[in-house]
């Protein structure tokens, strides 16, 4: 790459901080049920840098959600550990978690949903309202502060979930197929929005999806997982310039997407 173009892009976008955020070492997860043990994850090693946008992709049932839950500290791994670096250790289990569309609380208005984490942390009411309103604006829901989730569209609810995850300044955002329930058009729109929000307010993101195109178009790096038992098949950097332009980058992305498809073909073939 030519030096000028690097300077150009780093002038517009802060260069990625190369400091390590957390490391997964030898993660394994075995569920023991009535019909014997099922190994969901085996020997997963992963290093994630601060402010990196990491996508995890794999066939359904490959344990990528389990991996996310382990990182979120919602679940203890059978083997191995997640090690957070330096000050990030204090945020263990206190992440911005975004799940599919039912993650927002139906009994809270939009602004109260966003302010939820702040309320738990004891932030005074006027301050948390102000901060929540600022984030509602950021995710384009300023006009819907008093609406309940059931009065919002699925896409708006998802933006609400993202606003709620970011308002607490959690350095790590964990997203579990947040756009999985959206139609293709809304999905593309939300991907753009997420990148916009993230560019303005950088955090480390771990984004789980089964959509390979989505993973390549969003991520700095795509971790490809195999079918059960889940393990890391490949760790593919995505050298597309930011801000991403889905149409402009289509040709370049195509090659990476093809690579991922090839990796997944044999593993999805042996899926039961």
């Amino acid at each position: 790459m030519v030096a000028t173009s690097v300077a150009e892009s780093s002038a517009r976008y802060a260069p990625r901080d190369r400091a390590r955020h957390f490391t997964c070492e030898g993660l394994g997860q075995t569920f023991t049920g009535e019909r014997g043990a099922v190994t969901a994850l085996t020997d997963v090693a992963l290093a994630v840098d601060v402010n990196e946008f990491l996508c995890i992709v794999g066939p359904s049932g490959c344990g990528k959600s389990t991996l996310l839950r382990i990182i979120a500290d919602l679940q203890a791994p059978t083997t191995g550990a997640v090690r957070f670096e330096g000050e990030h250790a204090a945020h263990r289990g206190r992440n911005g978690l975004v799940v599919q569309e039912h993650g927002t609380f139906p009994w809270m208005s939009a602004v109260d949903n966003v302010a939820f984490g702040l309320k738990l942390a004891g932030v005074p009411v006027t301050e948390r309202r102000a901060r929540a309103t600022a984030y509602l604006e950021r995710v384009g829901l300023a006009a819907f502060a008093q609406h309940y989730p059931h009065e919002l569209s699925v896409g708006m609810r998802q933006r609400l979930g993202i606003g709620r995850a970011m308002v607490g300044q959690a350095p790590l955002l964990l997203m579990d197929e947040p756009f999985g329930a959206l139609d293709a058009q809304t999905r593309r729109h939300m991907q753009n929005e997420l990148l916009g929000i993230w560019a303005a307010d950088r955090r480390t993101v771990v984004f789980v999806t089964h959509d390979i195109d989505e993973a390549v178009l969003l991520g700095d790096r795509v971790v490809v997982m195999s079918g059960r038992p889940g393990r890391v098949l490949a760790d593919i950097p995505v050298p597309l310039a930011r801000p991403r332009d889905f149409r402009r980058d289509a040709a370049e992305a195509r090659g990476i997407i093809e690579d991922v498809w090839r990796l997944l073909e044999p593993s999805s073939a042996v899926e039961p």
């Binding site: 919602l74 992440n95 799940v99 039912h102 993650g103 139906p106 059931h150 607490g168 964990l174 789980v208």
Partner: protein, 271 residues
């Protein structure tokens, strides 16, 4: 990942048709009463079994005038209110405890399973033996009726919480108290309100039943007395009052539901 968990919706029998004070409602009833009046009057004399609406209104007016209605109505209302308060209150507390504690559920589930199917009024004689013929046994009978629907629905509400909401709350750092107050309680509110509606209904029915069997005052006692003294016009007048209690109670519960769960649609809140 599997598909998203379906939003938890209270599963209840369809709600009774709520009374809406529309012109149509009043019109239909006015027409029926007018037709009845004309029919009875045309017979030339007031029928014994079918008194004219005007005669019913007259005896209702007499009950109001001599103060007997106010006295008996207040007795009935306070039995419903107190019974509902005790029964549903205990039901919601034990329900929340059972919903969150597997150990408690294991102990109490068999008791509930055995006692719940017994008709509430069947306990009344035993309650009189245990608690005497006074007000305590009546309150106990009404409370017992109100207790079970609230208990069962509260347990179902807590158990039916969307686990995603609990995980999200945990991830945002909710401690046990916050989890209960901000997530578990509002999250199980829809089914708790269903429980309240059913409990109020049972408390109302039990009160009238208990008063008919073993009370000197209250609308149930009045009703029974008018049958025994063969005052058919009284019988009708008292039934009108009892119907009004039912409508008033349903309206009150809808209002409470709307206030305590404004995020639910009116339809769901009424269900």
């Amino acid at each position: 990942m599997s598909s998203a968990p379906a939003e938890i919706r209270p599963t209840t029998a369809p709600a009774a048709v709520p009374v809406r004070w529309s012109l149509r409602f009043l019109g239909v009833w006015l027409a029926i009463l007018l037709a009845l009046e004309l029919f009875v009057q045309s017979e030339g004399h007031a029928s014994l079994f079918l008194p004219a609406p005007s005669a019913i209104a007259m005896s209702l007016w007499k009950m109001i005038a001599d103060g007997s209605l106010a006295m008996n109505l207040s007795a009935t209302m306070s039995r419903i209110a107190l019974g509902l308060l005790c029964g549903a209150g205990l039901g919601v507390m034990l329900g929340l405890a059972m919903g969150t504690s597997k150990r408690l559920r294991r102990v109490i589930d068999p008791l509930v399973a055995a006692i719940h199917p017994i008709p509430r009024l069947a306990f009344f004689p035993l309650l009189i033996v245990l608690l005497g013929v006074g007000e305590t046994s009546k309150l106990a009978a009404v409370s017992l009726g109100a207790f079970f629907p609230m208990l069962l629905n509260t347990v179902a509400g807590v158990r039916g919480m969307n686990p995603v909401h609990l995980e999200v709350a945990r991830n945002y750092g909710a401690d046990r108290r916050q989890m209960f107050l901000h997530v578990l309680l509002p999250g199980s509110m829809p089914l708790m309100l269903t429980g309240l509606r059913l409990s109020a209904n049972v408390a109302f029915h039990s009160t009238i039943g208990v008063e008919m069997v073993g009370s000197r005052n209250g609308m149930g006692a009045m009703l029974w007395l008018s049958w025994q003294t063969f005052r058919i016009d009284h019988l009708y007048a008292i039934l009108v009052v009892i119907a009004a209690i039912g409508i008033g109670l349903a309206t009150l519960i809808r209002w409470v539901a709307h206030r305590s769960a404004p995020w639910m649609s009116d339809r769901a809140a009424a269900a």
